[in-house]
Amino acid sequence: MNIIAKWYYRLGAPNWFYPLTGKMLPWIAVIFLALLIPGLYMGLFTAPADYQQGDSFRIMYVHVPAAWMSMFIYFAMAVAAVVALVWRVRMAEIMIISSAPIGASFALIALITGSLWGKPMWGAWWVWDARLTSELILLFIYLGIFALYNAIENKQTAGRAMSILTLVGVVNLPIIHYSVVWWNTLHQAATVSKFDTPSIHIDMLIPLLLMAAAFQFLYLWILLLKMRANLLEQDLHCGWVKKIIWDRRKAHNGGN
């Protein structure tokens, strides 16, 4: 058996997945902090102020990575949905349902920071800008997936229904995005000015990339934590969970 297939099966088995990710978690947290601290420091202090927007552009270092993550997570969920539907991998379903609230949170962060950024730039808390509008729609799609999963009692059915909805969403998202962009160019009146892909200075770019990488590890960290929690909850009566509890109790009593 080649090494990829071996890992694939191990990650698909809860009794392997749980202890393995338990060992990975602290490392992921360390990498996240190692990327976040220099990223934030450079972004907030050493990066030069923008000649048009002054210091208020610095919210970009949270806003842009959060917006990227909200899209990346949906893409990751769609890949997991294919895996879940084609190979019936339960772990992929757990990954989707654990990702949906994280993706929704990133979308919400992007919307809130975008609106905070918009106040000094556009003079309004909310502008029906194409990107903000599609981000809002993305948030609603996330919430729909989450609501569907919670509405179905049988978690096996819920997982498959959610996977189908995720795939329907990934087919529709580009259509929605481009129609919103088109709609926005038609109703130009509201937008004051759009910053058309400004060429970004290298001193501004490096902290942005650091923050983007940090957010990736933040996602991985929260995802693994949530997947572990969901696994324990679903498999409460399975042998491997009982064994973990048994081992913990034994270690605890031994310590005393």
């Binding site: 609501a147 189908i164 129609s179």
Partner: protein
Amino acid sequence: MSSLWSLIRRDLLLAYRRRGEVGNALIFFGLVVLLFPIGIGASETLLAQIAPGLIWIAALLATLMSLDSLFKEDYQDGTLEQWTLSPHSLVAFVWARLISHWLITALPLVAVAPVLALTLNLPADAIGVLLLSLLLGTPVLMFVGAIGVALTTGLQKSSLLLPLLVLPFYIPVLIFGASAVEVSASGWSAAGQLYILAGLFVLGLTLAPFAVASALKVSVSQ
């Protein structure tokens, strides 16, 4: 093909025997349109300005409301389960059901829309485009909405879930449908918007039934 036809005929016959229910979506459509002048004010220029979007939103909501019963009866009496067990294609079943449902609920809606448009002072020149855009757009709304219906069919409390799942996917149709009418009301050609609607129509007609069928299989299995 013959089974498709007989399915459509059966649905139409059933609908004809229960004529009372058919009108409900139509009444809802009229009521939503009625609410806007009352809420916003009956200024003729204002109404003419918002008429395209308003009629489209009302049609969209009426279509959504009518979808709720799409598979409910067949799910409850076990027809759906028998159909998934039978060698017949579930996709064909979905197709037939959607076509007959469109004929029963959306077609009257499209027919009434011009009358409502005139009460909202939409220029008479735009009526043709309104009809065409609704003819192309309402099937897309049905086909995409059916995916949401299929996912929620087996649930006890699903009344608010369906709009939550489906409305985000209705946005492109609404954008191009309303814009087609708006553009033609101001005297320009709406060809571009109608072409895109036609594209969405083809996409929905060909892809959505497969998603609906697989969602139905999931709903039946629970």
